[in-house]
Amino acid sequence: MADALTAEGINLAFGGHRVLTDVSLDFRAGQITGLIGPNGAGKTSLFNCLTGLYQPQQGSIALCGRRIEALPPARRAREGLARSFQHVALCPDLTVAENVMFGRARLGKAGWFDAFLPLPRGRAEAAEARAAAEKVLARLGLSAFSEALPASLPPGTQRMVEIARAIVAEPRVLLLDEPAAGLNAAETRHLTEALRALAAPDLIMVVVEHDMDLIMQVCDRIHVLNFGRRIASGTPAEIRADPEVVRVYLGDPDD
């Protein structure tokens, strides 16, 4: 497939513990794809395989037809993959704006002399990075916090900052791991709108989330994982109607 991120036959195990079994799926450009499943189903592990933090024992990964499974994580970032983390991974010593600026640091050309000396190119680039960060923060309604340290912000806002960091370099693939965890109702509404606004024809966007209202509202397609296997794929309506998905995940546990 041309404009898509595809995983084929992914098998991942730690010791004898199988985490992903023969997972094949694709995420298409211009769509928001949901990745859902019970805790421990392997959603974060799949993200880690896609971004290169985990090396699956088997399987191939391709971005727009180009194989990337052999690339280290830093190279995949250059290919246009960006993500947020389930456990917030912002640098506590950097302000919000600086954390976001880091999201596009790899695009910089400023060398080691620029890092220490006030040379024109480095200064121009730093100003550019700051402007880009401020723009993204404004877009997500976070401008008021740009000079704050992450620890002074509520968890929901920290997650939004992670999204800002992930989108500031205009990635081709955006992987969001439980962006709504810890958000209150108003914050979740704000996030839902923000995610919708982020969707773009050439952006491949994947959201792992437990909040089914959010998933059903923003996703064009959904993949369901259970015990490391893909058990269903389809539109929100199809997924809601799928008996197995209802049984293992969507169903009321009290039934």
Binding site: L53, F102, A144, H190
Partner: protein, 328 residues
């Protein structure tokens, strides 16, 4: 979402604190620059050495701050810088003006040379690996043979500038270099490389996911730190006027680490000078009170163990507890 006011206040405080730090440093530098006009030669010599030592402490603090790692081997890079200056003067007749940049380059290169094979080590394992460096130093120097002057060492007596008394140059060179280092490090904090190293220190996976590998982070942090240490060694050779193997033992490396911790691994002028004063004075005091050596040894060991695997985090906590003194 919390309202903007709740964070606006600490932000304003940060800005105010930063500008206070600038003016405090400026006053301090001015005072240091004027000291030789009022103080006798003994003090000028001592404070000159202290400022060179402050630079040495900065090198260890840089590694802690940006690499999140503990070194008990930086006496190696110190010796490298010091002997580069001394040997270049003796063999090629050039002063520290040439010796210092050569030393810095050698420090960066050997720093890379050490960091590459040890890039998978961290925490206490890396600390032990660096200790091997420190242990090797005196023997390595003696192996160099007469070029390095053996046990007696070498004198460093060539003035970089004509027409200014040498003892004043021994004072002002470390002052100027230390001041420059503090300013350059402050700039580095805001560079893209600085942001990358700080993120890699706390969340190596996040740094990787945004294009900076762990190998890059380790090599960069170590090479810069080693370069600073070699510059400090060059200053030390020039300011103290001699180099000899027993100035660069494992003890030197341990003092550097303790000095860095005592200054809360700050990269500002005050922190560096506090650490520099510590490592200038303690060996003198120890010579007088030999009984204290085992106690200090135990303390140093305790420091390494407490810092353990997450030295940066531990120091951040300490810093917070001692009153939010976010140096540099």
């Amino acid at each position: 979402m919390p309202d903007g006011m709740s964070v606006a206040e600490p932000v304003a405080m940060n800005v105010a604190r930063r500008s206070r730090a600038w003016s405090r440093d400026a006053v301090l530098l001015l005072a240091l620059a004027l000291l030789p006009t009022t103080l006798g030669g003994f003090w000028v010599y001592g404070i000159g050495v202290c400022m060179a030592n402050a630079m040495a402490v900065l090198s260890v603090s840089f590694l802690l701050r940006y690499g999140g790692e503990v070194s008990i081997g930086h006496s190696f890079f110190l010796a490298l810088g010091a002997y580069t200056v001394a040997i270049l003067e003796r063999q090629a007749g050039v002063s520290v003006a040439i010796g210092l940049p050569v030393a810095a380059l050698a420090g960066v290169l050997l720093g890379l040379g050490f960091a590459w094979p040890s890039r998978k080590l961290s925490g206490i394992y890396l600390a032990v690996a660096t200790m091997a460096l420190a242990l090797a130093v005196p023997e390595l120097i003696l192996q160099l043979g007469p070029v390095a002057g053996g046990y007696e060492g070498l004198y460093v007596a060539k003035a970089p500038l004509p027409g200014i008394p040498l003892d004043l140059q021994r004072y002002y060179l470390p002052l100027v270099v230390l001041a420059m280092a503090v300013v350059l490090l402050r700039r580095f904090r805001h560079s893209r490389q600085g942001l990358a190293l700080l993120t890699a220190r706390d969340h190596p996976r996040a740094a990787e996911a945004f294009g900076f590998s762990r190998g890059f982070a380790r090599l960069a942090a170590f090479a810069i730190s080693a370069g600073i240490a070699a510059i400090a060694g060059a200053l030390l050779a020039f300011s103290a006027s001699t180099v000899s193997p027993n100035s660069y033992t494992l003890w030197t490396a341990i003092y550097l680490l303790v000095g860095s911790v005592i200054s809360l691994s700050g990269l500002g002028l005050v922190a560096a000078l506090v650490g520099g004063a510590f490592i200038t004075l303690v060996p003198q005091l120890l010579a007088a009170w030999g009984d204290w050596v085992p106690i200090l040894y135990g303390f140093a060991l305790l420091v390494v163990v407490i810092l353990g695997d997450r030295p940066a985090e531990t120091l951040t906590k300490l810093r917070g507890r001692i009153g939010g003194g976010r140096h540099g």
